[in-house]
Symmetry: C2
């Protein structure tokens, strides 16, 4: 067989040649900008010319600090097709983390949205490698004078000549770079290759997966700075789907209106998006009947919300799972043909799981004894992956690499899971959050979900703390709902748990707080809680 | 990203682990044999042990001479997963071609169906490389005494211990070998790699493709000795579909009964199969409502037959296209979302085309001037492919390799095609069959199809012959339908064509014959007709 390299240019060429008339709609603060694949492709080729003109060459890192819009999509293709590396910078990182990753990545050029440029300002003089900023804005918008040598994106494109994608690249050429949102220490970088993202795109276009196709109108709500936009920008262009980009800071109402107006069939994002969208859809009249599926990822979605979408709104939700290190999608919660007639409650339990591995990905679950666990939905162990779109290392970080990859070639997710008889994976906890009490495992995640089902609880976070008798025991941090602050008691919660969990799961202490500390992406920061607890602060 | 090799063992492992309960049904002359993926996998592992025990090692060639049945499916996986090469031998080749390819391939072991063993007998003493025959039959069936050292397949499995698939193979390892059905000269061999067939399987599981999935019950009617059974055996196991294998010499009635009994959703085969099946379905009551799609390949299917299936039987037909050199599937005739509301006649014209390239495959069409043609449905040129599952050479045949692959890395199909504005490819003719008359192109294929639409014509074959005035001109060989033999005239046909084709397309001569010579796979042999014509014989 031919040594034909699996390059992202194949997806781009497929899109522009076979689907030239398909549409990309991009929400702006003024309305919706709309163009065809043919127009998109023409601009990408000119952007490549412009990048080359700026001296960007194979192996150089180009940063983006941008929303989900058409310009960001153009950069997504232009940078890799030159052989350079697209570094999508997470807007939600803290300033010191931002400076760290831009310097660690050695970004040479940064494309930055004009409205979010202020986020970079505090440390912009501490980025020695950045040679040039390109400001994503209309041509009329002047580039800030204090940004030395900065260019306007549209002016840049106007003056550039088109060049064709490089066909002579190896499929192993790095094409992307994302950093994890570290809960401790510095963010860790992951390098993606053309081969990996090509195969990831192919896998998401398979039937037993996200099933992306030319018939779709795809809206990635997940930020494009969040692990390759879950691969959707690449896959969508490769299959020729219409694409809807929600632009800057979309509200749930903006999203619902886009779905309605653009007849969106597939939408992908994090649970918080669906919570907001469900509220809007239950309170206002909108026609979202075009939706084929909602793809949820980033964190598990509660059963109740799946049921709300499926029964009250009439849209199926499909769970996906992945990490920065896995490009990201590795499992999708599609339902096997033999299980589709199960009672709804049982189906719901399957849908709430992380799902089955994609075609192309291997997984194993290693128990506390170092052996693979049985697939019985009970035994627990660490979920590990290998496959063509799984990282083999952290970028310039041999120490963290050693800790996170096994000697025999598997990536350690540090997620503790069960696997049922059919192969469906369910995350029980993060490894470091799992509590071992009296020799038995306590899932902090499960306990939090149970506590949050209490009508007076707004947020619950559970950590394990040292215990003389049991080795470790759970303690709970509770934010009461409005109206119950001050009145909710630990007796009430302990009694609530009594019928719902094993007795050794009941926390040794309940701390009522006004707020639970969060990470830059809004997850509970258990590390901060543990540090505080150990220093005697609640 | 990890250097995870794309191996066929991934498909096997996925099948046995995630879909252990799924079923394989295999028709025998006595009924239907049925087992689960788990049972199938257990036997494959033992077969691997047996092969290893026979001394089969990486790079060795193992032949199969067999129908589409469960034992053949077991060999399909066991041989490649050892690192050896599966050579599927076409039962329909002529004896001298069979001997040629077995010796050219250097088959070390041949697995042969007991009922077709007699086909090998005439030259069985002229196969010096074959160390052993294994006869595919029930254990009770004695191995023929005159076949030295031959073994019974079931006895062999019974005594073998299981071994696991090799994980240490490179994805570039050869895993398969098929020979073309040469219309002139010796058959040419094509080596397939694990990487190529892995990616081919992935592509056939994509939505805008054959869309194979776990929900399917797939029946490959196309012989498994015909270009990897179009990849279906591999893809089906990888996605976890139920599989139905039609066994020895299935009649149209056998096939229809299998579809009905097994609730088959997807069936794939050549046009002759659908002609027979349509007859059965129009004349007998059968429930084939389980069918999602009929995938046609090997040759184009006439519009009338597509319409019969879609309108009278209620099953969509999808055209596929490929060759031995392309693994085989490279295009599939799915309909773009924007075209689905076209009037049925226009849709039918699109469905009769060869379709759009699969994700992963590049094509170009090179016109007579050496430049790529415009996509306007009019200009013609040679269809060329490149991609990860396209051959890069003919096995041990540098001369034919040079003739069929371009210097810049494309495979020349020698099919002459047009491409319409949407990218749909339509085969106009084989390069050597295209006729150039007075500077204009005449499609022999089109002319044959037009002639065969005449109610008194059973078969029509058109070749180009030298002509003093026009350079070349078409002549037609006609087999009249029963009842019209002797009475059908050339005037009648010329007048029929007058309203349907350009005047220079009307053949210079019509020869009424009782039979048109055919190749080993039942295609018209234009080479024989041309040779005869030039030697003055009609």
């Amino acid at each position: 067989m031919m040594e034909y390299p699996l390059l992202l240019s194949h997806l781009f060429n497929r899109g522009r040649k076979l689907f030239a008339k398909k549409q990309i709609a991009s929400r702006t603060l003024e309305g919706v900008f709309r163009y065809t694949y043919a127009d998109f492709a023409g601009r990408v080729l000119r952007l490549m010319g412009a990048l080359k003109g700026m001296g960007v060459k194979e192996g150089d890192v180009v940063g983006t600090f941008a929303w989900n819009d058409f310009r960001h999509l153009e950069i997504y293709f232009a940078v890799p097709m030159l052989g350079a590396i697209l570094h999508t910078i997470n807007l939600r990182l803290f300033p010191d983390q931002l400076a760290y990753i831009i310097n660690h990545a050695e970004d040479k050029v940064i494309f930055v949205g004009d409205d979010i440029l202020p986020l970079l300002k505090p440390f912009i003089d501490k980025l020695p490698n950045v040679e040039r900023f390109v400001v994503l804005a209309e041509k009329e918008n002047a580039v800030p004078e204090d940004l030395e040598g900065a260019l306007n994106y549209e002016t840049l494109l106007e003056t550039a000549g088109p060049i064709e994608p490089r066909q002579d690249l190896s499929e192993w050429t790095p094409c992307g770079l994302c950093y994890t949102t570290a809960t401790s220490g510095n963010p860790k970088g992951v390098i993606y290759t053309h081969r990996g993202l090509f195969l990831h795109s192919m896998a998401t276009g398979m039937v037993d997966s996200a099933g992306l196709s030319e018939s779709d109108v795809v809206m990635p709500v997940v930020p494009m700075f969040h692990v390759n936009g879950w691969g959707i920008p690449f896959a969508a262009v490769g299959v020729g789907a219409n694409i809807v980009l929600p632009g800057p800071k979309p509200t749930p109402k903006d999203l619902v209106e886009l779905i309605e107006a653009e007849r969106v069939t597939t939408v992908a994002g994090l649970p918080t998006v669906w919570v907001g969208m469900a509220d809007t859809l239950l309170n206002e009249r909108h026609d979202v009947s075009s939706l084929r599926v909602i793809v949820n990822g980033g964190a598990a979605i509660p059963k109740a919300l799946i049921e709300t979408f499926e029964k009250k709104i009439g849209v199926p939700i499909m769970q996906g799972y992945g990490m920065t290190e896995t490009s990201p999608i590795v499992t999708v919660g599609w339902i096997k043909s033999g299980l589709r007639e199960l009672p709804y409650d049982e189906l719901l339990s399957i849908k709430a799981k992380q799902g089955l591995p994609l075609f192309g990905v291997d997984f194993r679950v290693v128990g506390p004894d170092g052996k693979e666990i049985a697939w019985n939905g009970k035994e627990i162990g660490e979920l590990q992956f290998r496959g063509p779109w799984i990282a083999k290392e952290y970028f310039k970080d041999p120490e963290m690499t050693k800790a996170s990859f096994t000697a025999d070639g598997w990536f350690r997710t540090q997620d503790i899971v069960t696997v049922d008889e059919e192969g469906y994976i369910l995350i029980v906890d993060r490894e470091r959050d799992l509590i071992k009490s009296g020799g038995e495992w306590v899932s902090s995640l499960d306990l939090e979900n149970t506590l949050m089902a209490h009508p007076k609880v707004a947020e619950a976070c559970v950590i394990g703390v040292p215990d003389e008798k049991w080795g470790e025991c759970p303690v709970a941090y509770i934010v009461a709902r409005k109206g119950f602050q001050g009145s909710l008691t630990k007796e009430e919660l302990a009694s609530f748990l009594k019928d719902r969990v094993a007795s050794f799961w009941i926390p040794g202490a309940f701390y009522f707080v006004s707020e639970i500390p969060k990470t830059s992406v809004g997850k509970f920061s258990k590390r901060i809680l543990r540090d505080r607890y150990l220093s005697g602060i609640v």
